[in-house]
């Protein structure tokens, strides 16, 4: 399954507002995307509550995964989003 591992740049981590921005983008992807951190089950990247409950901090590594047509493109753009400071 195509996946991307990226370091979260958002200064406050994936807290409420950055999480909402990220999940909006994930919901718009053509394929279902999951987000995972070490030691926890992957969550639906389009679920703001799921993403928030991962408790992702700034500088933490996360892994995006998706399968199907357009998966690579969707993962690239979501990975780029996580690599920018959403709280700026």
């Amino acid at each position: 399954m195509p996946s991307r591992t990226v370091t979260v740049a958002s200064r406050v981590g994936l807290h409420a507002r950055p999480a909402a921005m990220f999940t909006r983008a994930a919901a718009a992807a053509p394929v279902p995307v999951t987000l995972a951190v070490a030691g926890k089950d992957p969550v639906n990247a389009a679920s703001v509550l799921g993403v928030m409950t991962l408790g992702v901090e700034c500088g933490q590594e996360v892994t995006l995964a998706a399968e199907g047509e357009g998966a690579d493109g969707a993962l690239d753009s979501l990975a780029a989003l996580l690599a920018t400071d959403l709280d700026a």
Binding site: A16, L49, G50, M52, T53
Partner: protein
């Protein structure tokens, strides 16, 4: 019960004006909280109920998004994020799982919400604070499903006057920055929570108005918080002046004309209050009410969660003094994790520090969290207990607090017994703070929520001022600070009297500070002493007030 208001009857109802200014807006009612239970009737078809839940969540999200568009700034972000949570498929999925297991529809929503609240709370910090937003979504969705009015503070997206029987601190937590531009309650007096909050926010308010119960929702009203009148269907063009705010914030520390310092502190009840007050020139916080952390929740806040909040408040004030009051709960403000049982007279029952007799763990958690916050913020704090009657109680509290490493420990003086024996209390604590609202209620034996007894609750009552004088004298003798943190301190002329009676700091809503600052600067310390003497020789509250005005006016 007041007679229904009909076409034929008067178009004006009267109560007690407690926060000045006039507003014209439609009236809406505070929706009662909706409680769900596993014993509610379950829907016949879980799949159909699942669709209803999704529709209700979508409607709640749409309302939040509309509010976000109207709000702007930080609140718009918060509301939009909350809307995203309501639309989260994971929330609806969780509710459907509970429906499939046989839960009643509304309760399935509550269970789904609580599932996520549990996980967010486990993370602590900022994410844990989002549970209030999530629970609000749950309450709104349940109300939507049941076809009931939305619970809590109305937020229709346009200015409204909010009517209620009375307001609790929990009800009013989301008032600042919302759609409510006027408050109207059936009950309550000049020192009720509604009145205090309205003045703090600069929202015109009329309390003690039983006839308001009969005003139909949606009626256009002209509410005048100065005269205490509410005009129904006012003619077009009737003046609608916004609340007048006090003169420009007075910079510099509070002091008398001859330079005696009188710290002018702020009363706060939430982190948002703290942030608002911290940008003013206030010398710090004289009363940080911590109840908001405990209200509206099923389990007690963890030590870590409390510490995060206290640290945020301490940091907001830098080096400035912050006096934290430990939990002031009682059977009139029941908390699920602090069972006290029903009481005939909650005001005279197990409340304030008295709750620690049965539940010392709640107080210990809070003291530990405060010590951790002081450590994290790298600064000291002052902690005080409410509802202390004796020196023994004060000593027990002080020992406990010092045991956790807190260095500056005080008690509130709200009970006449504590005021009369203030000398002994000051032997075991570092400071005292007089809560004039409760002290007035207890010395006059007049329920502070009673609109009918407003005259007895007048803070100019000489008996109340006698007790303040007794505490002031004990403070001077002990060389320890005596604060006043009731509403009395917000009346500029009375503030000067309190200084004359021995108060070394005054704590008020942040908005009251400029007027008090200006008035104090007109009197020397000797003036304050003479003024206090003049006022105490008056034979009633009205006479005391007149004597003070005469004293002020006869000075050059």
């Amino acid at each position: 019960m007041a007679a229904p208001i009909t076409e034929a009857s008067a178009r004006v109802v009267a109560g007690r004006g407690v926060s000045p200014g006039a507003v014209r807006a439609p009236l809406v009612r505070l929706g009662p909280p909706v409680v769900t239970s596993p014993a509610d009737p379950a829907g016949a078809d879980p799949e159909a109920e699942g669709r209803r839940v999704r529709e209700a969540l979508t409607a709640v999200a749409a309302n939040l998004e509309r509010r976000a568009r109207n709000a702007g700034g930080v609140s718009a972000d918060v509301l939009a994020t909350t809307a995203a949570m309501a639309l989260d498929p994971a929330l609806a999925d969780a509710a459907e799982r509970h429906l499939a297991a046989g839960a009643p529809t509304g309760h399935a929503v509550t269970l789904a919400v609580e599932e996520f609240c549990g996980r967010l709370e486990a993370l602590g910090g900022y994410l844990a604070e989002r549970v209030a937003d999530l629970r609000d979504i749950g309450a709104r969705t349940v109300a939507q499903l049941a076809g009931l009015a939305m619970p809590g503070i109305p937020a229709p997206g346009y200015p409204v006057v909010m009517a209620a029987r009375d307001l609790s601190p929990a009800d009013t937590a989301s008032l600042p920055g919302g759609d409510v531009v006027g408050l109207l309650t059936e009950e309550g007096g000049p020192t009720s929570h509604t009145a205090i909050l309205a003045r703090a926010l600069g929202i015109p308010a009329v309390v003690g108005c039983p006839a308001s119960a009969e005003i139909p929702e949606g009626t256009l009203v002209l509410l005048d918080g100065t005269t205490g009148t509410v005009q129904l269907d006012p003619p077009a063009g009737a003046a609608a002046v916004r609340a007048t705010s006090a003169p420009g914030a007075a910079a510099g520390p509070g002091r008398t004309a001859d330079g005696t310092p009188v710290a002018l502190l702020s009363n706060i009840g939430t982190v948002a209050d703290a942030e608002l007050a911290a940008v003013t020139p206030t010398e710090g916080v004289g009363l940080f009410r911590t109840e908001f952390l405990f209200l509206k929740r099923a389990d007690r806040p963890t030590e870590a969660e409390q510490a995060t909040t206290y640290t945020a408040v301490l940091r907001a004030f830098g080096e400035r003094r912050v006096v934290v009051r430990t939990l002031d709960a009682g059977s009139d403000k029941p908390l699920p994790f602090l069972p006290l049982g029903p009481e005939e007279n909650p005001a005279l029952g197990v409340r304030g520090l008295r709750t620690a007799r049965a539940h010392p763990e709640v107080l210990d958690d809070q003291l530990r969290a405060l010590a951790a916050a002081a450590e994290a913020a790298g600064r000291a704090l002052d902690v005080m207990a409410p509802m202390v009657s004796t020196a023994e109680e004060a000593a027990r509290f002080a020992d406990r607090a010092r045991g956790f490493g807190l260095t500056r420990v005080g008690v509130m003086i709200e009970v006449p017994a504590a005021a009369l024996r203030a000398r002994e209390l000051l032997e075991v604590v570092d400071f005292v703070s007089i809560g004039t609202n409760d002290l007035g209620q207890y010395v006059m034996a007049a329920d502070r929520q009673s609109g009918a007894l407003g005259d007895l609750l007048d803070p100019w009552q000489p008996a109340l001022l006698d007790l303040v004088a007794a505490v002031g004298e004990a403070g001077r003798a002990a060389g320890k600070p005596v604060g006043v943190c009731g509403e009395a301190a917000a009346d500029p002329l009375l503030a000067a009297v309190l200084v004359g009676l021995g108060a070394t700091s005054l704590s008020t809503a942040a908005r009251a500070r400029p007027a008090v600052h200006a008035e104090l600067a007109r009197f020397t310390r000797l003036d304050c002493l003479r003024l206090a003497e003049r006022v105490r020789s008056a034979r009633g509250a009205g006479a005391a007030r007149l004597a003070a005005r005469a004293f002020r006016d006869e000075r050059p």
